[in-house]
Structure formats: structure tokens, C-alpha cells
């Protein structure tokens, strides 16, 4: 009952309204999540249809539900366990910060007694906080280093525990009529990075793209504050590198694929999950001449796909019960659904594909 009352205001859909830029997608995800979490879907249906009578009934139903929720809440308070809220400090990776935020907010509806406080700053900062003992969970988009692990052991007396919570892989997309069969990281560097020398498809040996008006490569990128932009820049342009100017900077992962799908001369990068039949995903080789691999869960797992990385959560030693419960929830289907909605690869897709 409480869930129904809370979700539209502080729950997961509301968060999307803040973080996602695409209006249309916002509503879609919001209602999809809501219904998938077993929320009263008629609320959303009525809003969409605009049926006045239905709205009235929904309003009445909501009032009743709110009243009931109020009662159950007060009884829960009085008869509740300790009453003192438990706080989980969750620090680390900027790539994961949106995801961690979404988890934390949704978890409020699952376990109202536990509040998860999320902050970013980078994987390194998260692990540093783990060593200092200021973080209950550190988010990291890389493995913990041996010396960091030793520092945790020295400080807390036990080995940090690692939980794989999802994957982050970026696919390279071109128009479906583009005959290109593979691309190497070096070529991507020449195409995308500042100072790179490849501007035309013919330089890659591609001369027959149907309906492409020019030989020029139309680079599609992301707006400069997106995590995807930063990760791609790090892998392709180098740690201190920058993008070449003149790329079309889209405001969402889906917009990139959209634009590539009807622009024959375009190339773009976006999450693996955004693949559609109207674009072509191309295999990427680490070096020219090496075997090119298509992004997938398997190639992400065995690290053969170069533009991908696992996402981890670390705890200092064996986690206490409430932290353990949170991580178990993150790994559960409900938690993994949020991984998918925020544009990353959930663990369960890996199982589906096996």
C-alpha cells in the first residue's frame, strides 16, 4: 500500500524526470517501471487516455488508497522494529552514479528503514573511502588494485568483498547499408580524437555506401557532460585527449542511434542495449590486424571487447546484514531491471544469452 502512495512522488519515475532529457522517453520509462513494480497502472493509463470519468474513479481510488496507506503507515511506525533509520554510505564511480542514485531511491520503497546516501567522485575516490572506512559500499568501474586491497585489509582486518552488479559496454553504430565490416581502436582514434587524420570513409577503404551524399564521415557523439562521452573519450581519445570538433552532439543514447539509423554516412557510439534493426553494430579490434569482436555479454566478460567494462560494488570485509540485504536486492531482478533502464547491461541478460 505504501508503495502506491509514494512512488509517483519520490519514487523511481520521478527521478527519471530529473535525469533524463528526453521528454517522451521519460513518461515511457516512468510508467513502464511503475507497472513493472506492480504499481497501480490505471493511474498512468487514465492520464494517457484523458478520459474524464476514468480520472474521477482513479482519483477516488487514490484517495482511498492514501487513507489506507496513512493508517498502515502509522500502525507500522508504532509497531515497527527499532525506528532508527540505518544509513548506507555509497561512494564512487561517476559512471555508476546515476544508476546508484536510481537504486537508492527505489530501495526507499522497498525498505523504508534504510536510507542509501550516494555520492560520486570517481572509482578511485570510492575505494579510498573504503580504505578510510567512510564508505559502506564503494562503486567502481574497475577492479580493485592489489595495493588498495592490501590497504583495506590493513585497515579493517578483512579482505574487501567484490560484487559484480552490471556491465557498461559501448557499441559502435553505423547505418545498416554501410558495408564496413570492422574497425580498430586506432581508426576510431583517428576518426574521433582531436588531431586525428581520418575524415573520409574512403580512407577506411569504404567507397560504396548507398545514398551517402558525401564521402565525409558524419561523427555522432554525446553532449560533453554525459558519462558515456567521458568513457568513450578516455578509451578512444586517450586519458587527456579530446574529441575532434564538429561532431553532432546528441542529448541521449537513443538519439545517437536514431540519427545514425537514417544518415547513411554516419558513425556513432552508444550503449549496447540501444541496438535496433535499422543500424549496424560493427566489431571492434583492439589493434589494426587483430581479431575484431562484436560487443556482447560474453565478450564483455572475457574482456575481448575493448570498449566495455564491468561495474562493481565493494564492501570492506563481509557486509553487515542491512548492507548485504541491499546488495542482494541490487542483484535481484527488481534491482537489475533498473540497470537496464539506466542504459547499462544487467546481469540477467548474460544468463538469457547463455
Amino acid at each position: 500500500m505504501r508503495r502506491i502512495q509514494k512512488a509517483p512522488r519520490n519514487g523511481y519515475p520521478g527521478r527519471f524526470a530529473l535525469s533524463s532529457r528526453n521528454q517522451g522517453r521519460r513518461a515511457g520509462i516512468g510508467s513502464a517501471v511503475a507497472s513493472s513494480l506492480g504499481l497501480d497502472s490505471t493511474v498512468f493509463a487514465a492520464r494517457a487516455s484523458g478520459d474524464r470519468e476514468a480520472k474521477l474513479w482513479v482519483a477516488i481510488a487514490l484517495l482511498l488508497v492514501l487513507g489506507a496507506a496513512g493508517c498502515s503507515q502509522s500502525s507500522a511506525r508504532t509497531g515497527g522494529s527499532s525506528g532508527k533509520p540505518l544509513v548506507i554510505q555509497n561512494i564512487g564511480s561517476d559512471t555508476m552514479v546515476n544508476l546508484a542514485q536510481a537504486w537508492a531511491e527505489e530501495y526507499q520503497n522497498v525498505e523504508s528503514n534504510v536510507s542509501v546516501e550516494v555520492s560520486g567522485g570517481g572509482s578511485g575516490l570510492g575505494i579510498a573511502a573504503l580504505i578510510n572506512g567512510t564508505a559502506d559500499i564503494a562503486n567502481s568501474s574497475r577492479h580493485i588494485e592489489p595495493d588498495e586491497e592490501a590497504a583495506v585489509v590493513a585497515h579493517s582486518g578483512s579482505k574487501p568483498r567484490e560484487f559484480l552488479v552490471g556491465f557498461d559496454a559501448l557499441s559502435i553504430y553505423v547505418h545498416k547499408d554501410n558495408p564496413i565490416t570492422s574497425i580498430s581502436l586506432e581508426e576510431l582514434h583517428e576518426i574521433y580524437a582531436e588531431g586525428g587524420k581520418i575524415d573520409r570513409w574512403s580512407q577506411l577503404g569504404i567507397t560504396n555506401i548507398p545514398r551517402a551524399r558525401t564521402d565525409r564521415i558524419i561523427r555522432v557523439s554525446r553532449q560533453n557532460n554525459s558519462g558515456t562521452y567521458h568513457y568513450f573519450r578516455e578509451v578512444v581519445c586517450g586519458k587527456k585527449g579530446d574529441f575532434k570538433l564538429g561532431s553532432l552532439d546528441m542529448n541521449g543514447s537513443k538519439d545517437v542511434v536514431e540519427l545514425v539509423s537514417h544518415t547513411p554516412g554516419a558513425i556513432g557510439y552508444s550503449g549496447l542495449g540501444y541496438n535496433t534493426p535499422s543500424v549496424k553494430m560493427i566489431p571492434v579490434a583492439r589493434k589494426k590486424g587483430e581479431k575484431a569482436v562484436l560487443p556482447s555479454i560474453e565478450t564483455t566478460l572475457d574482456k575481448s571487447y575493448p570498449i566495455s567494462r564491468p561495474m562493481f560494488m565493494y564492501t570492506p570485509g563481509e557486509p553487515p546484514a542491512h548492507v548485504r540485504k541491499y546488495i542482494d536486492w541490487v542483484l535481484s531482478p527488481a534491482g537489475q531491471k533498473i540497470v537496464e533502464f539506466t542504459g547499462y547491461i544487467p546481469l540477467n541478460i548474460a544468463e538469457d544469452k547463455k
Binding site: R21, A212, R213, N224, R233, G241, D242, S247, T263
Partner: protein, 308 residues
């Protein structure tokens, strides 16, 4: 009538008029407040935007900022704030839009004011006003989904999101303004001018071209400039339709990026107080100055009309 009777008649009237005077004072004060508030708001907004950006002013190499096209606000190695390409983007898309909108707008104004009558005229006016009421996000959506494909399909453009796409949308958005202000300007020309032209044996076209245009020159100029103001400040439609690429366009099929779109796309996720954040506010100041100059010119043009 006795004196007491006149007193009786007067007294309630006196009482009513003091109430009326009091009420009128309040209303007068309120109206004055409304009038002054506009000025307060404009300066308040300008000062606020300037204050947010001010700490960065001294730290920047302004010739580089204004003339370099290197916009790398989030670079790890070398942060650069060159807005040259963004200024060129804004000016080029506005310029091209006006190339479409001014002839169409003035033409439509002439038709509505001089050639159409009765129901046709009324319908046209209502429809044109409806065109002005379409929200800019809807225009942007049309640019992204409809125009994008049309341009891609029928014109020799390598990518559908480009300067031309944005300019057509901006033109469509500023035409209603140009039409309604242009029509007012033409309507303000006294009928005696038209009658004199007819008496001289001028055709309708000659009347419009040789008599009405010179007479309504300032009003038409103001119409065009207000259209420019509308186009420069537009954000959502250009963000969605121009491709958002930091690029100095070499043809009308090249993607561009405007000042407004840059603020819209980046401000939401910058850390408050960071250099990037302040730079976006300085871009705001720049935009404010550009639109201020345009509006000032329009105002001066309208003043010219009144003098005549």
C-alpha cells in the same frame, strides 16, 4: 431645496468619493508597480546572470574566447572556452532564417492588409496567429523527425540535422511576428496615400511597391528586427534540429551549434560555481547583449514610424 436637504444629498456623495479616491490611489500605485517591475526584472535578470559569470571574466583571454572555435569545457587535458563557432552558428542560422522569413512575412502582410478582404482576411489572421502559438519544442520535434528525413531524402545533404533545417524552423516561427507587425505598419498608412496613387493611375503592385513600402518602411523594418530577436533567442527547436555540432558552416547543409542550445544542453549538469558553469552564464550575457541591441534597433525603427 433647503440647505439641510442639499447637505443630505451631498454627504453620501462626499463619502463615496473619498472611498473612490482612496481606491484609485491604490490602483494607481499597483499599476505603477507593474510598470516599474518590468524594468526591475530586466535589470535584475541581467545583474543575476552577470553576477554568476563575473568571477570568470578576469580569468579569460577574451580574444581567444570570442574568436576561437575550440569549445572544450570539460576537457581533462586542456580546457578551452572558444565560443567563436557558437556565435557564427547563431548568426548564420538566424541570417538564413530571415532570408526565408522576411520576404514571406512581408509578402503575407501585404496580402492580408491590401489584397484580401472579409472572411479570407479574418481566417488568414487567425491562422497566422495560431502559427505563433505552436510551442517551440513541437517545432523541434518536427525538425528532428519530419524535416530531418525530408532534407536527407530530397536534398544533397549528408545529414538531415543541419543549418538549413534549423533555419526553416526559425523562419516558420518568426513569420507570424513579421506578418502581424508588418500588417499593422501597412494599416497605419493613411488611405489618402492609396487614393492618391490610384488617382495617378498606379496599378495595385505599383501602389504597394512605390507608395506603401516607403511609407511603412520603419514599421516593416521593426517587424523584421523583432523576427530576428525571436530567432536569436530560440533554443529548443535549434537544439533539436541543427545537429548541435561545434562547427563553422561552409554550406547550408553543415550542422551547427548555437549559443542558446549550448546553454540548454550543458547547464543542467555542470557543478554550480565551476568555471564551465560561469562560462555558460557569460554566454547568457553575450546573448542578452545581442538581443538587447536587436530590440533597441527595432524600437528606434518604430519610433521613426511614430514621428512620421
Amino acid at each position: 431645496m433647503t440647505a439641510s436637504q442639499t447637505d443630505n444629498l451631498k454627504r453620501p456623495r462626499m463619502a463615496r468619493s473619498t472611498a473612490a479616491i482612496f481606491g484609485e490611489r491604490i490602483i494607481e500605485l499597483l499599476i505603477r508597480l507593474c510598470g516599474v517591475s518590468a524594468i526591475v526584472f530586466v535589470f535584475g535578470i541581467f545583474l543575476f546572470v552577470l553576477r554568476e559569470g563575473a568571477p570568470l571574466i578576469g580569468k579569460l583571454d577574451w580574444t581567444k574566447v570570442l574568436f576561437s572555435q575550440e569549445w572544450y569545457p570539460t576537457s581533462k587535458g586542456n580546457v578551452r572556452y572558444g565560443v567563436g563557432a557558437l556565435i557564427v552558428g547563431t548568426l548564420s542560422v538566424t541570417g538564413l532564417a530571415m532570408l526565408f522569413a522576411v520576404p514571406f512575412g512581408i509578402g503575407a502582410a501585404v496580402f492580408v492588409s491590401e489584397f484580401s478582404t472579409g472572411k479570407v482576411k479574418e481566417t488568414l489572421k487567425i491562422v497566422i496567429e495560431m502559427l505563433a502559438a505552436i510551442p517551440s519544442i513541437v517545432w523541434g520535434f518536427i525538425g528532428l523527425s519530419v524535416m530531418n528525413r525530408l532534407i536527407q531524402e530530397y536534398l544533397p545533404a549528408p545529414v538531415g540535422l543541419n543549418l538549413l533545417n534549423g533555419a526553416i524552423l526559425l523562419a516558420l516561427m518568426s513569420v507570424p511576428i513579421i506578418v502581424s507587425i508588418g500588417e499593422d505598419a501597412l494599416k497605419a498608412v493613411p488611405d489618402s496615400y492609396r487614393e492618391a496613387a490610384m488617382a495617378m493611375g498606379a496599378t495595385r503592385w505599383q501602389t504597394v511597391y512605390r507608395v506603401l513600402f516607403p511609407a511603412a518602411r520603419n514599421g516593416l523594418l521593426a517587424a523584421a528586427l523583432l523576427g530576428v530577436g525571436r530567432a536569436i533567442g530560440e533554443t529548443m527547436a535549434v537544439l533539436m534540429a541543427t545537429g548541435h555540432a561545434v562547427n563553422i558552416p561552409k554550406s547550408i547543409f553543415d550542422p551547427i551549434r548555437t549559443l542558446t542550445a549550448t546553454i540548454a544542453a550543458e547547464l543542467g549538469e555542470t557543478a554550480v560555481g565551476s568555471d564551465h558553469y560561469r562560462m555558460l552564464f557569460l554566454i547568457g550575457v553575450l546573448l542578452f547583449s545581442i538581443t538587447f541591441v536587436v530590440n533597441l534597433l527595432a524600437d528606434l525603427a518604430v519610433r521613426g514610424v511614430r514621428k512620421q
